[in-house]
C-alpha cells in the first residue's frame, strides 16, 4: 500500500497567556485509510520519538457522535467533507504533498487551553439556562399517555441530533452560538412535553448565549454549511420566532 507525505501547519500555543503560532510539520507514511485524527496520532508518535512535545487535541469517540473533536482544517470547521466531523474525515480525500493548515476553534466564548484544545463550557451554561424539560425522576406518565405525531417527532429528532461540538461558532463570522441554541429550543418547542416551559426557556437560553460573549446571528449560514449533523438554519428562525412570541 503506497503512503503519502502531508505537510501540516498546526497551531501551537502553550496556554491562554502565551502567544501561539503555526508550526510546520512534515508527516510521512500517511495511509489513505487513516482518519484525520489518526494522522495526528501518527504525527505525535513521530514527535515523541524525537523527544518533542506532541500536539494536544480533543477527541474521544472517533465516530462522529461525541462532539469532542474540534479542528479548523484549511479554514473550514471540521474540514472539507460535508456533514462530517474531523474524526470521520479520511485521508483518502487528500493527495501526496498536500499542505493542510489546522487551527483551533476561535471565539471569545471558547478560551484557549492548549494547542487545539479550547474551553467550550459556555455550551453547558446555555443548556443549564432552561435547556431541559422539568420532570423529576419517577414523575413521568406512561410513555403512550401523550401521542406525538411522527412528523413532529422526526423534526424534533433532526434538531436533537446536535453533538454540541461548536463548529457553528467557529465557522460564524460573528462567533454566534445560534445554531446550537436554536436546535435545542426548536427540539423542545416541537414536542408536547416542552410546551409548559416553552417561553421561559427560549428567553433564558438566548440571554445566556449573549452573556457568554457569543455574537448575534446575521444569516451568513456558515454554521449550517459546517455542521457535522447538518442541522438546518431553520432552527435559528424557529428560535427567533419563539423569542419574539415570548417577549411580546
Amino acid at each position: 500500500m503506497s503512503t503519502m507525505t502531508i505537510n501540516l501547519k498546526v497551531w501551537r500555543q502553550k496556554n491562554a497567556s502565551t502567544p501561539g503560532k503555526l508550526v510546520d510539520y512534515r508527516v510521512e507514511g500517511v495511509s489513505e485509510h487513516m482518519s484525520f485524527l489518526e494522522m495526528f496520532d501518527h504525527l505525535n508518535e513521530q514527535l515523541m520519538k524525537k523527544g518533542e512535545e506532541p500536539v494536544e487535541f480533543d477527541h474521544d469517540c472517533r465516530e462522529g457522535i461525541c462532539g469532542s473533536c474540534n479542528m479548523v482544517i484549511d479554514g473550514q470547521a471540521h474540514g472539507p467533507q460535508k456533514g462530517t466531523a474531523a474524526c470521520q474525515l479520511h485521508m483518502r480525500h487528500y493527495k501526496n504533498e498536500d499542505t493542510i493548515t489546522v487551527e483551533p476553534w476561535r471565539a471569545t466564548a471558547f478560551p484557549m487551553i492548549r494547542d487545539l484544545v479550547v474551553d467550550r463550557s459556555a455550551f453547558d451554561r446555555i443548556q443549564a439556562a432552561g435547556g431541559y424539560i422539568s420532570v423529576n425522576t419517577g414523575a413521568a406518565p406512561d410513555a403512550h399517555a401523550v401521542p406525538v405525531s411522527k412528523e413532529d417527532s422526526d423534526i424534533a429528532f433532526d434538531y436533537a441530533a446536535c453533538i454540541g461540538c461548536g463548529a457553528c461558532v467557529a465557522a460564524c463570522p460573528n462567533a454566534s452560538a445560534s445554531l446550537f441554541t436554536g436546535a435545542k429550543v426548536a427540539q423542545f418547542a416541537r414536542l408536547p412535553q416542552g410546551q409548559v416551559e416553552r417561553e421561559r426557556r427560549v428567553v433564558r437560553m438566548v440571554e445566556q448565549m449573549e452573556k457568554e460573549g457569543f455574537g448575534d446571528c446575521s444569516n451568513y449560514a456558515e454554521c449550517e454549511a459546517v455542521c457535522p449533523m447538518e442541522i438546518s438554519i431553520q432552527s435559528i428562525a424557529e428560535m427567533r420566532r419563539e423569542y419574539m412570541k415570548a417577549i411580546t
Binding site: E38, P54, E56, C61, A128, A160
Partner: protein, 650 residues
C-alpha cells in the same frame, strides 16, 4: 426448583449479596418499603460524589439532586454530554408489551438471565426488567425523540437473543438521545444549584477513612492541579474497560483507572474476564488504526450474514449466486437466525473465517447483506431505519452498503465484569457504589443487545436513589475535612505515580505499549482462550509491565494540559488489569457466554458450562501490590426461579 451450587467454597463475609427475602417478583418492592429514609430537610446536609457522567452517572446525579442531596459530578471530558454512552446506537429494551407480542417483565428477565448464560444474580436481573418500563416513561417525558409510528405511538424493533420486539430506539442514535435526556436532567439541577460539575477532572484515588469511602483525589486535566474532594458517599459510574484490548469500540478516553484505584483500596473486582466481543464491527484495516467502529446489532433485523461457500472466493459479492453463499447463522440456528446473541454470532463468524471462508483483504470479515431487505422494503425504508449507520460505514470504508454488502468482524465492545456490588449496588467498600458498566451485576457472562442503556439508567434513575439513602440514613452527615491524614496519603500516592511517569523518558511511546498489550489480550484473552495461552498471557503482561516502567516515554509536564500523561497513567493501570483478566479466565474452567475456553465445548462447538463447579461470581481481592497474586473469593449464584439449561438458539 432450586439449583444450589457447591457450597464448599472460599466465600468472604464481604460478599453478602443482601438480596431481600420473599418471592422474586416482590423482592424489590418489599426492599423499597424497608430501606431507611433520610428526612427531606437532612438530605441537603449530605454530599454525594458521582464519578462519570454517562447514562448511569448523569441519571444518578440528577435523581439524587432532585431528592435534595448535594451532588458533585466529575468527568474527564469537557462536558458531561460527551460520555461514551452517547455512541450507543441500536436501542433500549423494556417490557412494555406495546406490540402485544406476549412480552412481560418475566420474559425480559428470563431472556436476560439466559442470554447471560446463567452467570448473573437472579434478583438483580428481575429488578432490572421490573424498572425497564419506567425508564421509557421518564425519557419520553424529558423530550427524548424516540421513533414513532404514524399514529403517534412508539415504535419497536428486535434485538438478538429475544423473540419479541421490545427495543425502543431513536434512529441509530439511541444512546445519544438518552444521554442528552439524562444530561438535560442533570443540567436542570445545575441550574437549581444542587449539582456542582467538575469537568476535565480525572479521579486518581479513592479516599477511605475508617473503612468507608469518604472522598476522592482528582487531577484537573486543563492545568494539572491535584484536588481533594470529600463526600458522604462516592458513586463510581465510569464505564467499562474494553480499551485494555487497545482496539475496541470504546471511545479513546474510556479507561479503568478510577475503578482500578478503588480495587486497590479494597473494592473487589468481579468476573474481570467477562468481555463482550460484538459481532458486527467494521474490520481492522491497518496498523495505524486507533479504534473500531460498531455497526449496530439492529442491522441484523434486516441484514443477512453470509460468507462464500468456496474457500478463498475472490469474486465480488454481487457475483456470487445464492446457492454458493453460506448463510451460516440462518443454517446453524434456524429459530433465531441472524438474531442469535452476540457471543454466539461472534464465535460463528470467527469459526467460518478460521476455516478459510472469510472475505476482504485480511480474510477476517464476513458479509452483512441488505440486498433482500432493500428489495422487500425499498431503499427509503432501509435508509430511514439505518441511514446514519450506512453513511458512517461509507465514510470509513469508502463502500456504499446500499450497493454492496457491509464487511463486518467481531470486536471488543463491552465488559460484563466490573466492581463487585451487592443488591444495593454497594461495593465491598462501604459508601462506595458502582453503577452501569462499571459494576458486574446484571449481564452475567454475555450482555444482550439494548440492555446496557437499560441497566445504566435503571441503576441511576431507579435503584441508587433508594439504596444510597439507606446507607446515608445510618451515617452522620459530618463531612470529612480534606486535611484529614487519609486525604494527604491518597494525594501523595497520586502525585508519586504522576511524578514517576513524568520522569520516564525512555524510547517507547505509550501507544507502543498499549498496542502490545492489546495484541496479547486479543490473541490470548479474547474470543477463544486456553490454559496454555492464558499462562503465556500472564507471563507476557508481567514482562510488558516491567518494561513499561523502565522504557516508556512520557512527554511534557504536570502543570498543563497533557493528554499523553493521562494516557500513560491509564495504560499503566490496564497493564495490571490485563493480568487479572487472564487470571480470572484461567481460574474459570468452563465456557460460558463470552468466556470461551477451548478445553470446554460441546461436540457442536458451543460453550460448555460447568454448573457444579462454576455457578458463582469470582471476586478478586487486591493483594497489596500489583506483582503479588490476588485472592479469589466466590459468591455462589442461587437460581430459585429459572432452570439452568444448555443455552440453545437452534
Amino acid at each position: 426448583m432450586s439449583t444450589k451450587s457447591n457450597l464448599n467454597i472460599e466465600t468472604s463475609p464481604l460478599l453478602e449479596s443482601k438480596v431481600p427475602q420473599g418471592p422474586l417478583g416482590d423482592k424489590w418492592s418489599s426492599h423499597k418499603n424497608n430501606v431507611k429514609l433520610v428526612n427531606p430537610n437532612n438530605k441537603r446536609k449530605y454530599k454525594v460524589i458521582v464519578v462519570g457522567t454517562g447514562l448511569a452517572g448523569a441519571s444518578a446525579a440528577a435523581s439524587l439532586a432532585e431528592l435534595g442531596y448535594n451532588v458533585d459530578t466529575f468527568t474527564i471530558l469537557d462536558s458531561p454530554r460527551r460520555a461514551h454512552s452517547i455512541a450507543a446506537q441500536g436501542g433500549i429494551n423494556a417490557a412494555k408489551n406495546y406490540k402485544n407480542d406476549g412480552d412481560s417483565v418475566y420474559r425480559l428477565f428470563y431472556d436476560t438471565i439466559k442470554g447471560g448464560d446463567y452467570r448473573a444474580r437472579e434478583a438483580n436481573v428481575y429488578r432490572l426488567a421490573e424498572v425497564s418500563n419506567a425508564i421509557i416513561d421518564q425519557c419520553v417525558a424529558q423530550g427524548v425523540p424516540f421513533a414513532r409510528e404514524y399514529g403517534g405511538l412508539l415504535d419497536n424493533r428486535s434485538f438478538g437473543g429475544a423473540q419479541l420486539s421490545r427495543t425502543f430506539y431513536a434512529r441509530g442514535q439511541t444512546g445519544q438521545q438518552l444521554l442528552l435526556g439524562a444530561y438535560s436532567a442533570m443540567m436542570k439541577n445545575v441550574d437549581h444549584g444542587n449539582i456542582t460539575m467538575h469537568n476535565r477532572q480525572e479521579m486518581l484515588e479513592l479516599v477511605v477513612i475508617d473503612g468507608k469511602a469518604k472522598g476522592i483525589i482528582t487531577r484537573n486535566l486543563a492545568n494539572g492541579a491535584i484536588e481533594r474532594h470529600s463526600a458522604d458517599a462516592v458513586l463510581l459510574c465510569t464505564g467499562g474497560y474494553g480499551n485494555v484490548f487497545y482496539l475496541s469500540t470504546n471511545a479513546k478516553n474510556c479507561n479503568v483507572t478510577a475503578a482500578w484505584r478503588c480495587y486497590k483500596k479494597g473494592a473487589m473486582f468481579a468476573n474481570p474476564s467477562f468481555t463482550q466481543i460484538h459481532p458486527t464491527c467494521i474490520p481492522v484495516s491497518g496498523d495505524y488504526q486507533s479504534k473500531l467502529t460498531l455497526m449496530s446489532e439492529s442491522l441484523r433485523n434486516d441484514g443477512r450474514v453470509w460468507v462464500p461457500k468456496k474457500k478463498g472466493d475472490n469474486r465480488k459479492p454481487s457475483e456470487i449466486p445464492d446457492e454458493e453463499r453460506y448463510y451460516f447463522l440462518e443454517e446453524r440456528y434456524p429459530s433465531f437466525g441472524n438474531l442469535v446473541p452476540r457471543d454466539v454470532a461472534s464465535r460463528n463468524a470467527k469459526d467460518v473465517c478460521d476455516k478459510g471462508h472469510g472475505v476482504g483483504a485480511s480474510g477476517l470479515a464476513v458479509y452483512l447483506d441488505f440486498r433482500d431487505s432493500i428489495k422487500r422494503y425499498g431503499r427509503d425504508k432501509i435508509s430511514e431505519r439505518y441511514g446514519n449507520l450506512f453513511d458512517m460505514y461509507e465514510k470509513i470504508t469508502d463502500e456504499n452498503p446500499y450497493e454492496t454488502p457491509m464487511r463486518i468482524f467481531p470486536a471488543v465492545h463491552y465488559t460484563m465484569g466490573g466492581l463487585w456490588v451487592d443488591y444495593n449496588l454497594q461495593t465491598t467498600v462501604p459508601g462506595l457504589y458502582a453503577l452501569g458498566e462499571a459494576n458486574f451485576s446484571d449481564h452475567g457472562a454475555n450482555r444482550l443487545g439494548a440492555s446496557a442503556l437499560m441497566q445504566g439508567l435503571a441503576d441511576g434513575y431507579f435503584v441508587i436513589p433508594y439504596t444510597v439513602g439507606d446507607y446515608l440514613a445510618n451515617e452522620k452527615s459530618a463531612a470529612v475535612d480534606t486535611s484529614h491524614v487519609e486525604f494527604e496519603k491518597a494525594e501523595q500516592e497520586a502525585v508519586k505515580r504522576i511524578d514517576k511517569l513524568l520522569k520516564s523518558k525512555g524510547n517507547k511511546t505509550v501507544l507502543d505499549y498499549h498496542r502490545e498489550l492489546g495484541k496479547i489480550m486479543w490473541d490470548k484473552v479474547g474470543m477463544s482462550r486456553s490454559e496454555a495461552g492464558l499462562n503465556e498471557a500472564i507471563r507476557d503482561i508481567k514482562a510488558l509491565r516491567e518494561d513499561f516502567w523502565n522504557n516508556v516515554f512520557v512527554p511534557g509536564e504536570q502543570s498543563t494540559c497533557n493528554k499523553y500523561l493521562e494516557y500513560a497513567n491509564r495504560v499503566s493501570d490496564f497493564l495490571e488489569l490485563g493480568e487479572l483478566m487472564a487470571r480470572d479466565a484461567l481460574d474459570r474452567n468452563e465456557s460460558c457466554g463470552g468466556h470461551f475456553r477451548e478445553e470446554y465445548q460441546t461436540p457442536e462447538g458451543e460453550a460448555q458450562r460447568d454448573d457444579v463447579n462454576y455457578c458463582h461470581v469470582s471476586a478478586w481481592d487486591f493483594p497489596g501490590d500489583p506483582d503479588s497474586e490476588p485472592v479469589r473469593y466466590k459468591e455462589p449464584l442461587e437460581f430459585e426461579n429459572v432452570k439452568l439449561t444448555q443455552r440453545s438458539y437452534k
